[in-house]
Point group: C2
Chain length 208, copies 2
Amino acid sequence: MHTADVSVRLGLLALLDQADMYGYQLKAEYETRTGGVWPLNIGQVYSTLDRLERDRLVATVDHPAEAAGEAPSGREQKYYAITKAGRNALAEWFEETAGDDPPPRDELLAKVLLALAGGRDQALAVVTRQRTALTGALVARRRGLRDQLRAAAQAGGGTADNDIAGELVTDALITRAEADLRWLDLCEARLVRLAANGQARPGGAGDH
Amino acid sequence: MHTADVSVRLGLLALLDQADMYGYQLKAEYETRTGGVWPLNIGQVYSTLDRLERDRLVATVDHPAEAAGEAPSGREQKYYAITKAGRNALAEWFEETAGDDPPPRDELLAKVLLALAGGRDQALAVVTRQRTALTGALVARRRGLRDQLRAAAQAGGGTADNDIAGELVTDALITRAEADLRWLDLCEARLVRLAANGQARPGGAGDH
DNA sequence: CGACACATGTAACACGTTACATGATTTG
DNA sequence: CAAATCATGTAACGTGTTACATGTGTCG
């Protein structure tokens, strides 16, 4: 795997590093921890747990309540625990930093670059449209963050522990949107500086 | 497909909108158009073309040179052409803007949020490390852009048409890295403001 | 009882990566 | 000739999404 998406697999591992849990619970925890913006498919949880178990990064353990002598709940809950190998893999993930390997494909960037294949004007049209939409989304997100912070201030004296994740997520979305907007401005500047030819490649793309 | 990665499928379609091409050529064009930072697996090109053809967004056409009466080249090249339905799908893609649907999972964000599950200090450690690495990468990327622009200025009078893609990509990478750095700073500020408890949830995560 | 949440799973498919197989052409 | 490049494909696997199947517990 060169640029593998691994944030579910290792995310579940991080949760299991805090406590033994079962699949359904992991789904809920994952969504809570990530501020509710990344819904996690329950089917994927089970298949990911299967692979983690196969790779000996987690292991199934006894139901903690039943092990303590309580009556079986009837609901079947398969508890998983992280292993030593799992803790190592998790520590590696936390220490890893994005290298110079190919960055993940980005939809916005791809759209502009490939619109550019159809000529400067097509690219400019895409840039303009995306900027308009992003500007609106940014306003909405800033308003959302403001409400979120106000609610947190009312609820407790300081920032409640449970809300920090949501705030970090909102921060990230806003910061990203701002960056995308700045980049779109840069794009426009570079594109208008191009000679006003309709095709990005004067000779056409059919030069094989 | 809720949050489908579609930048290859529709990227190939965008290239075919410019000229009929065959698989191997599409791979090369895609990589050139995207500044060489997104290597495209040739196997994926063929399977994606199969799906595009099945969905009637492209169709195989005669070899243009042979159709013009030239001698067959011996090398078998399967040329594809975009269809009307394909052009519609492409136009839709260009017009689409990212809505409020779940944003794509981001590795950096995921890492910080799930490190936070292990307590404030673990999250702070991840933030610090990532920031250090990103700062270095940013310096290198800025230097790269400077060299790129200098080379372009020497090569021609103005910005050469072929280099614009590379510049847009570098802009995007730098802008993204700067945004990530700003976000990491925000994270640290919010985290240090938290009470200095080791666990994100005072009661522990095992509260089921 | 009936609806809904809890809980586990399977099947089918799309997309992405790596590795392998198979030839033809070009080039040193 | 040998090696690299051109050109098409397949197989296997990981990951992500949707839909379906199958039960138990709780609550109105």
